[in-house]
């Protein structure tokens, strides 16, 4: 039974990362009907920002600030940096193509992805950076449930992921800004006629989703220690899969999809074989697209007739 719960914990933590990535994909798709393939690379940039904040405050084994302050600073810096990066991407790569066919935006996002990847390679080299979070939050710190020990960092990551999801949902559902985002997502032209500043609304959506991606990058580094310039590729694949399984455009669906993928991965590795991990995840995606193309929580589009 302990083995089973070990898989649950592993699945939920990696699922939290996928969930937040899926959330970003869904938010951007909602307002712009665009699959932003550079989203995983924004996540990577956030992870690097977090690493350099960690280094600036003494590095993992010689911290000069309390751990809580450090984590907060890492998350804030990564969120802000990645958010601003997202704003720039939207302004210079996607806005000029807004009225072009959708494939143009898709290709542009692929181009931005490579540009970000190789800029990071040129600036920071290909060396893998290590957060070594266990140096400042030891593996023994956490909670014990029977024979199962859960590392504090895992609890923090899942809690933070859920908090971000709730916060984003509250903003979308309970604020004027959220109303504007939903209006733009529903019908951009109508929203503009109602006096909503469409450019500003799309920019804010990009800022929010990119900031979430940046903070997710930090959480990834804290959990799995290593960050490198090509880490965005897998993140894009998994985040996009989470969003599609959950119902792209639906924020709660993306989160649900992320956790499902995480659990599918860990149970496949634990009970079947690590060899088939990706096979099973992407098989789920294909089955979902055949059986329920709009995803678990997605709603069918209304079509004017």
């Amino acid at each position: 039974m302990q083995f089973f719960f070990e898989q649950v914990v592993a699945g939920l933590t990696v699922g939290a990362i996928y969930a937040l990535l899926g959330l970003g994909f869904s938010l951007m798709f909602g307002v712009l009907r665009l699959l932003n393939l550079a989203h995983g690379d924004v996540f990577m940039v956030g992870a690097f920002i977090g690493y350099y904040v960690l280094t600036a405050f003494g590095g993992p084994d010689r911290l000069v600030v309390p751990v809580a302050v450090l984590l907060l600073l890492m998350l804030l810096a990564a969120g802000l940096g990645a958010g601003l990066l997202g704003l720039s991407i939207e302004r210079f790569a996607f806005r000029p193509l807004r009225d072009a066919p959708r494939t143009s935006g898709l290709i542009a996002s692929l181009g931005v992805s490579f540009i970000l990847e190789y800029l990071v390679l040129l600036i920071f080299t290909a060396n893998v950076r290590s957060y070594s979070a266990s140096d400042f939050v030891s593996f023994s710190t956490g909670i014990q449930i029977g024979g199962l020990h859960i590392w504090l960092m895992r609890i923090l990551v899942v809690a933070f992921a859920l908090s971000l999801w709730v916060a984003v949902r509250l903003v979308i559902e309970r604020t004027d800004l959220g109303n504007a985002i939903r209006a733009v997502a529903f019908d951009r032209e109508a929203a503009a006629m109602m006096g909503i500043n469409v450019n500003r609304t799309i920019s804010i959506a990009f800022f929010v989703s990119s900031a979430v991606a940046g903070m997710t990058g930090v959480m990834f580094g804290l959990l799995f220690s290593q960050v490198w310039f090509q880490m965005g590729f897998t993140a894009t694949l998994k985040g996009l899969t989470a969003a599609v399984i959950g119902g792209i455009g639906n924020l709660s669906g993306a989160v649900l999809g992320g956790f499902l993928i995480g659990l599918a991965e860990s149970f496949t590795t634990g009970y079947i074989s690590a060899t088939y991990q990706d096979l099973i995840v992407f098989a789920i995606l294909i089955v979902m697209m055949i059986v329920r193309p709009r995803g678990l929580l997605g709603r069918a589009d209304l079509v004017k007739v």
Binding site: Q7, A126, F139, S266
Partner: protein, 383 residues
């Protein structure tokens, strides 16, 4: 008076003759330098997930050529070709080199998958390729899989065998977890390892993960408490470090025994672990002191990946030089013939260099390192 004049005249004549001789000698050297000119390639993963190791390989190949040019007054130029650790890209770079008539040989490819992707292209083009870190996956001592591809290291199968023997003695392993990353070299290691573990009566169980894997938590949870060693045949050292962290988090005492892909003191420094190497540590070879000093000044620190690249570059440069000395102009065929008959009495690797029938390094060995406080200590070797 006459005698004095005669003596002065004699001195002038001798001096003039000496000057002429010196000028002639210098001209001869310059002429040889001018005639012994060649261009070679280097197929290397300078970017990508193993860029740290690839960059080191490129730097050492460049250093090898620079040293050879300086010592032997040749004029050999090295052109890098980045294969990004992607076999498809290795094939592309090999095609580019093959279609460039100036290139007479190449250092690399550096990976087994790269050799498998580009070996036929290079062989068809008669382009001698000396790999510093890989052999064809199915290489055995009697078959030269790709006729123009050579290697200055022992085949992967040797590494698997040496590792299993070391696990049996002196480590006396009771149960081993064997995990590969689905790459050709990784599977070649583990196949040989498993065969030898069976011969040594050591029980083992296996797993295979994608090279894109980022979370090793679930994999670590499958390692049973009675497993004393995990043989990790990953190509990227950072992935090995991640797996080690996952084991640590779960409080598991299993010791990692890494294949040579983990051999990187900067990225894999888990104390107590063992790591294979396809080359000795240059720091521990007294004859390499000058090269180590030069390389340290240029690159600060380096792993076991640098030495074989220097050696591979040196093999090609020696072949080109031998062609020049025989009065021919270096071309692909005569350089390939010279590379095949390489017989260097000494090398940066602290041993003679010649190739066996399969194009592999004759009498090659693989090395075992123990990591103690982040330092790699050579503790064994075998063939």
């Amino acid at each position: 008076m006459r005698r004095t004049v005669f003596r002065q005249l004699s001195l002038v004549v001798v001096g003039a003759l000496a000057c002429v001789a010196a000028t002639a000698s210098s001209a001869a050297n310059q002429s040889r330098a001018a005639t012994c000119t060649a261009t070679i390639g280097d197929i290397v993963p300078a970017t990508g997930v193993v860029a740290v190791l690839g960059s080191e390989q490129l730097h050492f190949a460049q250093l090898g050529i620079a040293d050879y040019n300086r010592i032997h007054h040749t004029n050999i130029t090295l052109i890098p070709g980045d294969d990004q650790f992607q076999p498809a890209q290795t094939a592309t770079v090999a095609r580019q080199f093959a279609s460039n008539p100036q290139i007479v040989a190449t250092v690399g490819p550096s990976t087994t998958d790269g050799i498998n992707a580009a070996g036929a292209i290079l062989s068809r083009a008669h382009l001698a390729a000396v790999s510093p870190s890989a052999t064809p996956a199915d290489q055995n001592p009697t078959v030269h899989v790709y006729s123009s591809v050579f290697s200055v290291i022992a085949p992967e199968a040797t590494e698997g065998k040496v590792a299993a023997k070391y696990l049996a003695n002196p480590l006396h392993a009771k149960k081993v977890f064997v995990v590969d990353d689905q790459a050709s070299f990784s599977i070649a290691f583990t196949t040989a390892l498993k065969a030898q573990l069976t011969a040594e009566h050591i029980p083992y169980y296996t797993a295979s993960v994608s090279q894109q894997q980022t979370d090793f938590t679930s994999l670590a949870s499958t390692v049973t408490p009675d497993t004393d060693y995990a043989f990790v045949a990953f190509g990227a050292p950072s992935k090995g470090a991640q797996f080690a962290k996952a084991l640590q988090e779960q409080g598991k005492k299993t010791v990692i025994f890494g294949a040579d892909g983990l051999n990187s003191p900067t990225e894999f420094d888990v104390s107590g672990s063992y790591v294979m190497g396809f080359a000795p540590d240059l720091h521990q070879i007294p004859a390499d002191a000058a090269i180590v000093k030069e390389a340290t000044a240029k690159f600060h620190q380096f792993t076991v990946y640098g030495g074989p690249s220097y050696a591979a570059a040196w093999v090609i440069a020696s072949a080109i030089d031998a062609v020049c000395k025989s009065g021919q102009t270096p071309n692909r065929d005569n350089v390939l013939a010279q590379v095949a008959s390489t017989n260097l009495p000494t090398s940066i690797l602290g041993r003679p260099l010649s190739f066996d029938k399969a194009g592999g390094l004759a009498n090659a060995r693989r090395y075992v390192f123990h990591i103690v406080n982040g330092k790699y200590i050579l503790v064994g070797s075998g063939s």
